[in-house]
């Protein structure tokens, strides 16, 4: 019965629902989890990688470069990092759009784009696909972790419908219900960025399918201020992630290190 209202993104069902949007959201809830937490002196993003395996060629991944070769966490502008969950190809397209939007703002106003404005730019695009022309909506949710002089550190979430909202700590992807309740439990006001890192890693270790964390399953990034009060984004490379996990006592035991997870056959990550 629902089929009649499925094929078009722009058609409401008799119950007033947009099925394509809901399916897109469903696709995201199978994707690798992305967790973000905001503190007074920084924002933290962590993401679970699903496409792993020892045959996967990671030599092209530069980690720290502007382009980022990560799968889940990207630098959108010098003051904003983004975490994605959903269809990878859609995400790449949105990331490219976000970077262009940020550069256009820099060109027009000679300042880094405010975080909320960038979220709005993407949501305007995403919303368009829920209304016009029989196209498929973007199957991507994003977390935006950023800094601007107006509201300092911020964390936003946007979904395929074009809705966005600001958060102290939130997550997208598989097991987001569990992660959200854990964040709710453990998040405290006025935590420092070090506390936020610990919180995010702890929640990550409890919600991920695998029992122990390692750099081949995890992406991690922080956004803080440098000595000149300029935003400084840091996307951790695998060695740094392992060092961080080790520091927090979440690292793998040595005998488990070589066990690689199989590559999932579907498109979601």
């Amino acid at each position: 019965m629902a089929r009649r209202y499925d094929s078009r993104t722009t058609i409401f069902s008799p119950e007033g629902r947009l099925y394509q949007i809901e399916y897109a959201m469903e696709a995201i809830s199978h994707a690798g989890i992305v967790i973000g937490a905001r503190s007074k002196d920084g924002v933290v993003l962590a993401a679970e990688k699903k496409v792993t395996g020892k045959l996967l060629d990671m030599s092209g991944a530069k980690g720290q470069s502007y382009g980022g070769s990560g799968e889940k966490i990207f630098l959108l502008n010098s003051n904003i990092i983004g975490g994605v969950a959903g269809i990878t190809a859609d995400a790449n397209s949105l990331i490219n759009y976000a970077r262009q939007a940020a550069q256009r703002h820099l060109f027009m106003y000679n300042e880094d784009i405010p975080v909320e404005l960038l979220a709005q730019r993407l949501c305007d695009l995403k919303q368009g696909y829920t209304q016009y022309g029989g196209l498929r909506p973007f199957g991507v949710s994003l977390l935006y972790a950023g800094y601007d002089p107006h509201y300092h550190f911020q964390l936003y979430h946007s979904d395929p419908s074009g809705n966005y909202s600001g958060w102290k700590a939130t997550c997208i992807g598989a097991n987001n219900g569990t992660a959200t309740s854990l964040l709710k439990q453990d998040y405290k006001e006025d935590i420092s960025v070090a506390d936020a890192i610990e919180l995010v890693l702890k929640v990550m270790s409890k919600t991920m399918d695998s029992t122990t964390l390692g750099s081949e399953k995890l992406e991690f990034a922080t956004l803080t201020l440098d000595a000149e009060k300029k935003p400084k984004a840091k996307i951790f490379n695998p060695a740094e992630i392992d060092a961080l996990l080790h520091k927090h006592g979440l690292a793998k035991k040595d005998e488990e290190r070589d066990v690689a997870a199989p590559v999932p056959s579907d498109q979601t990550l």
Binding site: M108, Y109, N110, E111, P114, E116, L117, P149, H150
Partner: protein, 194 residues
Amino acid sequence: MDISFALTGKGYVIVAADTTAARSIVKMKVDEDKIKVLSPHLLMAYSGEPGDTVQFAEYIERNIRLYHIRNTYALRPPSAASWIRRSLADSLRSRRPYAVNLLVGGYDTSTHTPHLYWIDYLGTMSEVPFAAHGYGAYFALSLLDRYHDPEASVEEGLATLRRCLDEVAKRLVVTPEKYKVKIVDKDGVREVEI
């Protein structure tokens, strides 16, 4: 024939502009306000080709306001000035360029610093401690080189401005009789009598 001055001090910018609206050799109006309040902490003195000035200033005013409404916060002075400059630079290479000179003064509430930008009709922009447009510039700039103090209080700043106005009154053949003076600081914009 328009004359405008601006100078920064400790946590404020003073912007002054004469109030004459003239056509040829005739004064048409003597209480024209040529300083627009673009946002709660941003001022813009404009001068140049009559007609272009008001048209361009209102275009800028409305667009800065629109940004404020859309985003709930206003553009910060450096960004606003960059955008205004870009508008003029684009206009320069259009079919009919605006011939408007600007002094943009503002107080950045996020870094707590005053900013002053000298912008001309070509889109030339420079952040400066003090600035002037029109014939007043030839008399006042050297005077400000000598007397301007970036750490001066508002009273001292106004006294320095007073010197500039007196010098123009003394040496310029056609002297405007009245100036409008506005100050922008952490509390926003206010007008002062001088």
